[in-house]
């Protein structure tokens, strides 16, 4: 069997949320402003990303609510108590991978 290759797919959107909102280069200089710099910035954005109801709109499948938890965790909020919403299939969230040869090769279901 070929060894596992990393993937970049819609189910990895939680990674995008966490990486772009919580990580990445921060400039500590007067010339730059960034979201999260003050309490006022990015509040709505985080709330949007974190809310359970809207997470369903990512079009992600939620096996055992895992992805929802992960998205909420990435957004740094307490999970809301509720069951998973509709499961929608969306291909539009495919993220192009810069270096992966075969993004279809995922270890999830063996």
């Amino acid at each position: 069997m070929d060894e596992t290759r990393p993937t970049r797919r819609q189910s990895d959107l939680a990674d995008v949320v966490e990486l772009l909102l919580d990580k990445g280069v921060v400039i500590n200089a007067d010339i730059a402003v960034t979201v999260g710099e003050t309490e006022l910035l990015g509040v709505k954005l985080r709330a949007a990303v974190a809310s359970f109801e809207t997470a369903a709109q990512y079009g992600m499948e939620f096996p055992d609510g895992t992805d929802v938890d992960r998205v909420e965790h990435a957004a740094g909020v307490e999970p809301l108590e509720d069951g998973p919403g509709e499961q929608v299939e969306l291909d539009e969230l495919e993220v192009e991978s810069p270096a992966a040869d075969d993004p279809e090769d995922e270890r999830d279901d063996d």
Binding site: V26, I27, V33, T38, P98
Partner: protein, 268 residues
């Protein structure tokens, strides 16, 4: 849920700003001073960014910052828009990575106040640092690994057997308390098993990572979560080690990447 108007709140006001995606190392040369990046010896890079804005490169000192023009930060409570923003932002950084090698990726919604010249000035000021970080990161990407349990394992454990027998013989009230004890015991055993899986994964992956970070588990099914900064040539070797981890019963591995090195990005 209200949809944010495009000209809605402006939490941070500035007349002129440059929204920053990433910085990459390029050949020598500056944009012709005082000219826009669309002329002179500007670097050919164009992509559609957040909100369809036109992304271009501002060059100084062998570095290029990929930016678009903006006069505000991005904030909205409409999840669809936010999702698009994040994916559009990421696609620009991905394109930059393909064109120029590993980029220094900035946090979403980072804006340099001022015009192209302000960005050039900043690039020159931070040039030594930026070049050093880019040289360190060259050829390396972030890979993210999550080791999770697909189901609760069945434990063979004397104490659990004892409790099961006691529960069988107990009246309702006592049985309830004993079941609480059994749950606690199961949790203990599960944690021990998780620690074992995590230790195994850590031991296998750490030698392949230039930098290695442990993340908080996103939920109770996750036994271990890591971010690795690793060379692209080691991707296959990491996958191989993860196959061994995933070969355990009831364990599945999520392996994503290659990402720009967000988790290993410096403060400047």
């Amino acid at each position: 849920m209200s949809v944010e108007d495009a000209d809605g709140d402006r939490p941070a006001d500035f007349e002129t700003g440059r929204y920053l995606y990433c910085v990459v190392a390029v050949g020598d040369g500056d944009d012709a001073d005082g000219e826009s990046a669309a002329s002179g010896d500007a670097l050919a890079f164009d992509a559609d960014g957040v909100e369809g804005e036109s992304v271009y490169a501002i060059r100084a000192d062998g570095l290029a910052a990929l930016v678009h023009e903006t006069d505000s930060l991005y904030d909205a409570d409409d999840i669809t828009r936010v999702r698009e923003w994040l994916l559009d932002h990421q696609s620009v950084v991905d394109e930059a990575g393909e064109a120029f090698g590993t980029p220094l990726p900035f946090r979403f919604d980072t804006v340099v106040t001022g015009d192209d010249e302000a960005v050039r000035e900043w690039l020159r000021d931070a040039s030594d640092d930026l070049h050093a970080h880019l040289a360190d990161l060259a050829g390396h990407w972030e890979y993210r690994v999550e080791v999770a349990r697909t189901d609760d394992p069945e434990f063979e454990d004397d104490r659990l057997d004892e409790l099961a027998a006691e529960i069988e013989a107990a009246d309702e009230g006592r049985a309830f308390l004993l079941e609480k004890q059994r749950d606690r015991r199961r949790t203990e055993l599960r944690r021990a098993a998780d620690d074992d899986v995590a230790a195994d994964a850590r031991e296998r992956l750490r030698p392949l990572a230039w930098e290695f970070e442990e993340n908080d588990a996103a939920d109770e099914h996750v036994a271990a979560s890591f971010s690795l900064l690793a060379h692209e040539d080691d991707e296959g070797a990491i996958g191989e080690q993860l196959d061994a981890v995933a070969a355990r019963d009831g364990i599945e591995v999520r392996f994503t990447g290659p990402w720009p090195p967000y988790s290993f990005a410096p403060e400047l």
